[in-house]
């Protein structure tokens, strides 16, 4: 049985913006489920509805077998949540904050103390557990927040953009912790706009855009849909040359797709190693001078591109900013 299930989940803001649009979702227990998409795709809204933070107005959802709409209070006992904002207390020490969290979940004093020490070890907080939250670095704070989220040993942990703002080392560190949690049986539902994160961390994933899921499966399955490699060309003279090149490319039987991306041309070919020399020969014959070319195996970005016609890397808050994730 799925641990998270949603049917026709919809959220409309201001009467017209369909932030989440008839979403269906089935997530098996015990895995890391990645929710990938550009900012504003509706990932956070979906997660907030499942985590009981936003009322479900249309559609249905169950988490750990409990109806989120009818029994949000009961769902809260079974889920942990770490939001983008975090929620660690700046004025309390990490240890105090953990103890309070446990007490709010109804644990007794003895249980709370034991669990707090356990989490301090698991998330490597000992060094700063007795310091006030305001003194923590970004990575330390995030680790405390994850600890707060799993205090009550939830079956499902929601993580909203958990590694945003962390440096590469802290990000890698957090990935290790997240995998550890999965290995002890926690189902992790995480949103991210980092391709690399979704690719490396998720056991299965869904790609979301404009409130809809555009692709779903394991990373490998999704990339196989692309079936082939991607080749990116740029030419010494653009403009008409691009049009001409596209015409030539499209005539080749092994070219499955050829599209213009800015000043460049992207091709999907069956086998890049065979196609590339052939393509170069053709271009040479037509006197089209190549400036750069790149051959790559398909990535999740290619999947996104295929499904939406846009690159994930162009949809971020600062365009190129997301490129770092590759």
């Amino acid at each position: 049985m799925s641990i998270i299930s949603a049917k026709m989940l919809t959220k409309v803001y201001a009467g017209k913006i369909r932030a989440v649009d008839n979403l269906d979702l089935e997530i098996e227990a015990g895995q890391i489920f990645g929710f990938l998409g550009p900012n504003g795709a509706g990932k956070t809204t979906t997660l907030r509805m499942l985590a009981t933070l936003l009322p479900i107005e249309s559609g249905e959802a169950t988490v750990a077998g409990i109806d989120v709409r009818r029994q949000p209070a009961k769902v809260r006992q079974h889920v942990g949540y770490v939001g983008q904002l975090g929620g660690a207390d700046s004025l309390a020490t990490g240890r105090e904050d953990l103890i309070l969290q446990g007490r709010l979940y109804g644990m007794n004093t003895f249980e709370v103390k034991k669990r707090t020490e356990e989490l301090i070890d698991v998330l490597d907080l000992r060094e700063f557990a007795n310091r006030k939250g305001s003194t923590y670095s970004g990575g330390q704070r995030r680790r405390l927040e994850v600890a707060l989220g799993i205090m009550h040993r939830p079956e499902v942990l929601f993580l909203d953009e958990p590694t945003t703002g962390l440096d590469p080392q802290n990000r890698a560190n957090l990935w290790v912790q997240i995998r550890k949690l999965r290995d002890i049986g926690t189902t992790i539902f995480l949103t991210t706009h980092y391709l690399e994160e979704a690719d490396a961390l998720s056991d299965s994933l869904a790609i979301m855009d404009h409130g809809k899921i555009v692709a779903q499966g394991t990373s490998r399955e999704l990339k196989q849909q692309i079936a082939g490699d991607s080749v990116l060309f740029s030419f010494k003279n653009d403009g008409e040359i691009i049009e001409k090149a596209i015409r030539i490319f499209k005539q080749q039987p092994y070219v499955r797709e050829a599209t213009i991306e800015g000043e460049q041309v992207r091709l999907y070919v069956k086998d890049g190693a065979v196609a590339l020399p052939e393509l170069l020969r053709l271009l040479d014959k037509e006197n089209i001078a190549v400036k750069t070319m790149a051959l790559s195996e398909p990535t999740l970005d290619d999947v996104f591109l295929r499904k939406t016609g846009r690159s994930l890397r162009d949809t971020g808050p600062n365009g190129k900013g997301n490129g770092e994730s590759r």
């Binding site: 009981t52 809260r76 942990g80 904002l85 975090g86 006030k132």
Partner: protein, 253 residues
Amino acid sequence: MKPLRDTVLLFKREFIHSLRNPTWLVVGLMTPLLYLALYTPLLQKLAGGPGFPTTHVLNVFLPGMIGYMAFMNGVSEGYPTLFNLKDGQIERFRVTPANRVALLISPILADVAWMFVFIVILIAVAVPFGFNANIPGLLVTLILLGLLVMVTGAFSVAIALINKEISSFAAIVNGISLPVLLLSGVLLPLSMAPSWMRVVAHFNPLYYVVEANRLLAAGDIWNSTVGLAFLVTVGLAVGTFWWATRVFRKAVA
């Protein structure tokens, strides 16, 4: 049981937070002390005149002043709410099974507790200067002011949750506070005011509290004005809490 337990847990946390933020404590105490030191001397010549029937001006001024403190204490409650909204704490607690009313009421109760501490200090300072402290009356005053903080606190938190931005929150709260304070007689009794002002003041809940405070300071506990002040404040407390709880449940951080 659970609502009570959660309230105690969260109350402790809030109360200790204030200790860790000594600037807040010092400023909170300095304001009324400064009024006492630098404003009451201006009133000395009014003693025995209109509005100041008693022997010492402090007996009229201090009860008003503590009404002002309570009002401002509660009204400022929205600022920490806004900070906790921004750093994700409100969201974090809303995902836990913590009781919703406990989440809302605990910081306000901590504020009430701190206000009691301030008022006791203020009175201790004022007694050597001639303030005539009537203990039973003051105890009833504390209860009334506690209720007042609940009203203004819940109101302020709700406004903060609706507006989410500090600038619009501050504008609304300041815009409402000033006329309410001026029309309540906190600084000077409204018995000195022209009749139209006194008529308008009757629509101001704080006016009843301040009037009751002055009677209570004189030990006049069983006065009907005191009863009316309790009636108005309790009614408002129920109303604002009902509203604020609704806002809190819906609040999208």
